[in-house]
Symmetry: C2
Subunit: 341 residues, 2 copies
DNA sequence: CCATAAAGTGGAACCGGTTCCACATCACCA
DNA sequence: TGGTGATGTGGAACCGGTTCCACTTTATGG
């Protein structure tokens, strides 16, 4: 592999001049530039990004941590971030968790990796770090965008929505269609944003005089199978409900499948609201009404904020994000007073 | 940020000794090791992976190219590769395409990036490079695992299945259930593996005396909407079929939704076979029978082969992969001779 | 025509690790 | 007692870029 010294020798110039031509920084004569470019072409020279990163103390990379590659949730998120970087010739380097074992350790190891790699900035999505963990990370790498989390003391670094209001929207959606008997399939209560979703849901119900204890609730572990199992359980126990809130779309799909398998029609017998509005929600039949959280917008905003920090640019960085309900066919007006036994 | 020279000074040893302690290579006295470790802890020293990569001429990274982050297809693939590297403390760095514009250029740029970053090896999944492109890449980085492609002259580098046999399995699945009138929703014919799937399907039909021209065929662009549109078209044109083959699962989902919306029952009126056996196929109702291609196995094998090349290890590297049919409820015995008009 | 600024250039020093070589120390044995 | 090997050690050189400084050449203006 040719080095810049080979290029300089071949072109009959000093390494400084060669470097200036190749990197496009600093004054060079037309003649020197031509000779260097010719040498580059002739030798097939490719600058080593590693060497460049070492001497310039910047890798030209944005590090991203996501808890899991599988599933439909993080793909579009990564796509959105990657897309923001396209224009400025930068790239992402992704560290991932595996969704098993000790997720906090996985996250910390992943971030360690990204920091050691001298990433210019970090974008982190994690449900398993606590506030103090985030503060420790931020001290080591202040160019830190925290997605989907509000960490006290790091307001500037956070790009988040209030999931309580997302849960509230789900409740309002069902109430507005006349529903009064509910069931909820929640995610694991170790996931902070799941707790908020469910809390927001119940807060609105409380405002309508419906107590938490009057609502059937099960943890579906954020999985299709978990959603299915929860419905099996509700049916077996004869739980009576016409409005179902699921804390993510996968569980909602599992729930709908199970309902249909037991002869319950969606939405005629049960109206279902999912959460996250992943692509999946457009694929079910009936299509799933889902609470849409602005994953891509939060990711893109965090990314732009980092770019501004790194290059002093002045990209537009929205910090207010809205949660909406993506209305589809799985929610309908209440027409009967409950499920058949 | 503390450097190894700071650590050496603090510990009262030379940089060589400090390096030997920290990297765990070479002989060091118990005493020196203790002093260096203390200094490391005291200064909060973290070795720069960049500097390490430069001097050791190896980044300790495996580069992976995938055409697209969105969708359910590549997540599990990346997960599987990442998981193989877990044991040996290595990581992946991912370059991605965007599924728009000139995909060949995107792919080449992505690989350029991975090579400049001095990745120890490359894993590439691409439908948009031609054989010669792959050979050029292989010359620059011989540690190249090509997934889902058989490139003449690079047999050792390729980890692939014969999609013709996958298409054949789909045909056999439907024929075995008595179906004789078919429709096909294909992917774009620029995607090499799509062409093979469809060819394999028709080859088996030909063996049963069914000509290509007797089968309705539409390009569904590998998308849910495309699958839906194809069925709309078939129904509008009054095409009569009881067996449907879709060249991927997303199109199959779109097709099933559209069929159901038009009052056609799956599988009573139409049996459907998808392709890829993504997680999606377990989420539909009825669940989708799908041709399962061993994405994860191919990725893992390619990854292990690279590890063997890089570290002289002797990991088991399967090179034969099997395509199977994942049987689910969307295929049933033919009970009537065609769709109602 | 000379003072001064601007443009262009070569090369040493640097980034922060690893590695190699020369050398010191000690144990062991003939 | 002196030779041999194993074990440890310090530090220079190196990886391949960038950057800064000292210097030369050319342009500008009084």
């Amino acid at each position: 592999m040719a080095t810049i010294r080979d290029v300089a020798r071949q072109a009959g110039v000093g390494v400084g001049t060669a470097s200036r031509v190749i990197s496009g920084r600093g004054p060079v004569s037309r003649d020197a530039a031509a000779r260097v470019n010719a040498a580059v072409a002739e030798l097939g020279f490719r600058p080593s990004e590693i060497a460049r990163a070492l001497s310039s103390m910047s890798a030209g990379l944005i590090g991203v941590y996501v808890p899991d590659f599988s599933g439909a949730f993080f793909g579009p998120f990564l796509h959105a971030i990657s897309n923001e970087l396209r224009a400025c010739q930068r790239r992402i380097v992704v560290a991932n968790g595996f969704g098993d074992g000790d997720e906090r350790t996985q996250t910390i190891n992943g971030l360690e990796f990204l920091i050691e790699r001298e990433c210019d900035g970090l974008i982190v999505f994690s449900n398993h770090l606590n506030d103090e963990d985030f503060r420790v990370i931020q001290r080591r790498q202040p160019r830190l965008a925290i997605i989907n989390r509000a960490v006290p003391g790091l307001e500037e670094n956070c790009f988040a929505v209030d999931h309580r209001s997302g849960g509230a929207l789900a409740a309002q959606a069902l109430l507005a269609h006349g529903h009064r008997r509910f069931a909820v399939i929640a995610g694991p209560d170790t996931a902070l944003d799941n707790v908020l979703r469910v809390d927001g849901f119940f807060a609105v119900l409380a405002g309508h005089g419906i107590a938490r204890d009057d609502v059937a609730l099960r943890d579906g572990g954020f999985s299709f199978a978990g959603g299915w199992a929860a419905i099996s359980d509700f049916i077996a126990r004869g739980v009576n409900f016409t409005g179902l809130f699921c804390a993510n779309d996968e569980m909602a799909m599992g729930a709908m499948s199970c309902l249909q398998e037991h002869g319950r029609r969606v939405p005629q017998d049960v109206s279902v609201v999912g959460y996250d509005n992943t692509v999946l929600s457009g694929y079910t039949s009936p299509r799933l009404t889902s609470v849409a959280i602005p994953m891509c917008a939060m990711g893109a905003s965090g990314c732009r904020w980092l770019l501004n920090q790194c290059f002093g640019t002045d990209l537009d960085v929205p910090t207010e994000f809205s949660i909406d309900v993506a209305w589809r066919a799985s929610v309908a007006e209440l027409t009967r007073d409950g499920l058949p036994a």
